[in-house]
Symmetry: C2
Subunit: 454 residues, 2 copies
Amino acid sequence: MKIPYRTYLTEEEIPKQWYNIRADMPEQPAPLLNPGTLKPLTAEDLYPVFCEELANQEMDATTRYIDIPEEVLEYYKTFRPSPLIRAYNLEKALDTPARIYFKFEGNNTSGSHKLNAAAAMAYYAKAQGLTSLTTETGAGQWGTALAMACAYFGLDLTVYMVKVSYEQKPFRKAVIETYGGKIIPSPSDTTEVGRAILKEDPNTGGSLGCAISEAIELSLKDDKCRYALGSVMNQVLLHQSVIGLESKAAMEKLGEYPDIVIGCAGGGSNLGGLMAPFMQDKLTGKANPRIIAVEPASCPSLTRGKYAYDFCDTGKVTPLAKMYTLGSEFIPSANHAGGLRYHGMSPALSKLYHDGYMEATSVEQTKVFESAVLFSKLEQILPAPESAHAIHSAVEEALKCKESGEAKTILFGLTGTGYFDMHAYMQYNDGTMTDYIPTDEDLQRGFDKLPKVE
Amino acid sequence: MKIPYRTYLTEEEIPKQWYNIRADMPEQPAPLLNPGTLKPLTAEDLYPVFCEELANQEMDATTRYIDIPEEVLEYYKTFRPSPLIRAYNLEKALDTPARIYFKFEGNNTSGSHKLNAAAAMAYYAKAQGLTSLTTETGAGQWGTALAMACAYFGLDLTVYMVKVSYEQKPFRKAVIETYGGKIIPSPSDTTEVGRAILKEDPNTGGSLGCAISEAIELSLKDDKCRYALGSVMNQVLLHQSVIGLESKAAMEKLGEYPDIVIGCAGGGSNLGGLMAPFMQDKLTGKANPRIIAVEPASCPSLTRGKYAYDFCDTGKVTPLAKMYTLGSEFIPSANHAGGLRYHGMSPALSKLYHDGYMEATSVEQTKVFESAVLFSKLEQILPAPESAHAIHSAVEEALKCKESGEAKTILFGLTGTGYFDMHAYMQYNDGTMTDYIPTDEDLQRGFDKLPKVE
């Protein structure tokens, strides 16, 4: 059989259930803690911030498969299934015996995989009788995704957008507004947290951690409003598992199974979803693929962070999560072009990494864009800077195969397109893009401010 | 059978041949004329400007099906087949008995159907041993498409970009540059034609017609360079027939056939391709679908133009073509946001319209954007302003069905996405978008300057 460039499942083959990785983890991630009492949180504790159903999913470590609501499945059909693509042209150019596949989640107007989780969050909010959601967005994909899902399910939305992105991406902002979302650059003077941060540094470009604090503060003020988070949380990994489940089903049709699974990692939403069923195979002894997280050298939480309890936000209004972190006050250099600017990492993913089930690597952004441009020309898709981290790592692994002569099967996540990241490509094209790698001293300053737990 | 949201043909089902509508036309479009001698041109006359194979295709009115070269078919697989989508959400919101389908050509990095023709042009140029191509671009889709195809086939590219687009769309420019294309805002001082136009009006926003003149002038100066045109020409309609052939094959699988086929029309590339096999059925008496061209009220060549010989460009360096035209010096109001800014219309399409095989209608841009935003929210795809003309007409036809109770099948072309047109959406969102409809006197000024041919 000649394997096609693009393999699509049928609509009927879209997974009917999400997969909950925690059900197969030999050891659970450490529980979320109340920062005041340091006691583990219950689902009920989260109800003021998250929809009840989502809070329940957040705490559910035992249900292996959770039904995708019919309404969410219908919505998924407006942009799923996404294609599994064989990167024939890349393979040929690299002259590698490796077979390279990528799961392309960017063929929707949000431009990324974020719509998978946004769908669930908007649906559950509507089902609970809420009228609005609020969230943060960095590079803009998550804000766009949630705006699209809110427009579809009929909810209002307020987005706190990291100021540096707000200024670099007027058109990303325009998409969110076209879908009816209201955007506030963060830090802003609309919240106590924002005002405090602005007072300390009026010129800050903002961070995801800070925008999260502001959105949560807003949600707590309005009983018909809840907060939605696009990464890090267990619920997000759950909803994003549709990526991996589809990938695995499509590969099975082709008689393939990945030796290596590669995903970019900021908060973990994409990699957590892509790897889900492959990690399951690993945890249950059915297979042993390598799973690689790729992060930016400018924000290296897995590769250089501490595995410790920390706040999920800069304003320290969230619960404490045990995760790989650079410290909640760490703000990546403004010269970093893409997303993946988050100080922490999904606690579940952190735990799996800590226990040796995953690898992690980091890359400088100029190298990432080199691979992005190569890929653009060969595979004719201009990738998001975030996704290009995974491309870069896939290229490296394919070149290793060339050296060793091994015909490995590589699967990576092409999480999105770079159409709203052209300012970054412009920097790369005109040679003004630079790299930033924090020194050990830079990182130590972040570690020194980690909360003391035990 | 429940018809899915998205129907994809398999890669093996991508058409292996393009369809040449002229082979089935009872009367041929009038021949291209040498503007000096007013004698019909031969293919050889076009060789200095176009690749030989493309010049031959341009003049070939009899070969019904032309094989798609193997290399072009391979390239097509990087972005085709494109989906045929059932607009279930739009149908429901309009409460119409009509079944609405759209062929979505925007899921590639060029953002539109233009890649279908760019593929052929870059391939034939490479096969002829040329080293570069040159072209014009308005809204930017064509320039991006040709840059992508040139990067894939290994050719240099110079793009004359209509100045108003160049200024409004820095990010579109960045995509073209990422693919290695060189961009010059038009009119420019790099050509005699450009210098003449600038002298007359230094502040002009430019036009497609002017950018065409400049690109042709450049191609004539370099024997290893040829010109490529993204619309209007017979060769473009030929290459774009893949849209219609795929649409028809997909609809056949669903047991459907359109009662109405709708496409936006600037130069005719999309509508000419989408309608091709349906127009064939009409010309050969097999079926009788309505075929509707939708153009902007600000540039109404079919609905208010003259059917006459005219230059294809502002600089009057091209052959004369008999077509619906507003006069080659007509430059649409700069307040018009989208593409479709061309003064003329494909001669083949013009002839079919003149002979009563097609209908045409025009729409003001604020109405177009109203439909675009409605569609964005319901179908979760943010359309290009050009494509939104077709959406608007499809909505109107679906509402007529609601009134009459007829369950008609409507097919429209969603030629592309609006991700690089957000400045226009911003105008619409903040209420500053205005409409412009030329007066009869405005149009008369263009008609007065039509060349005198018999």
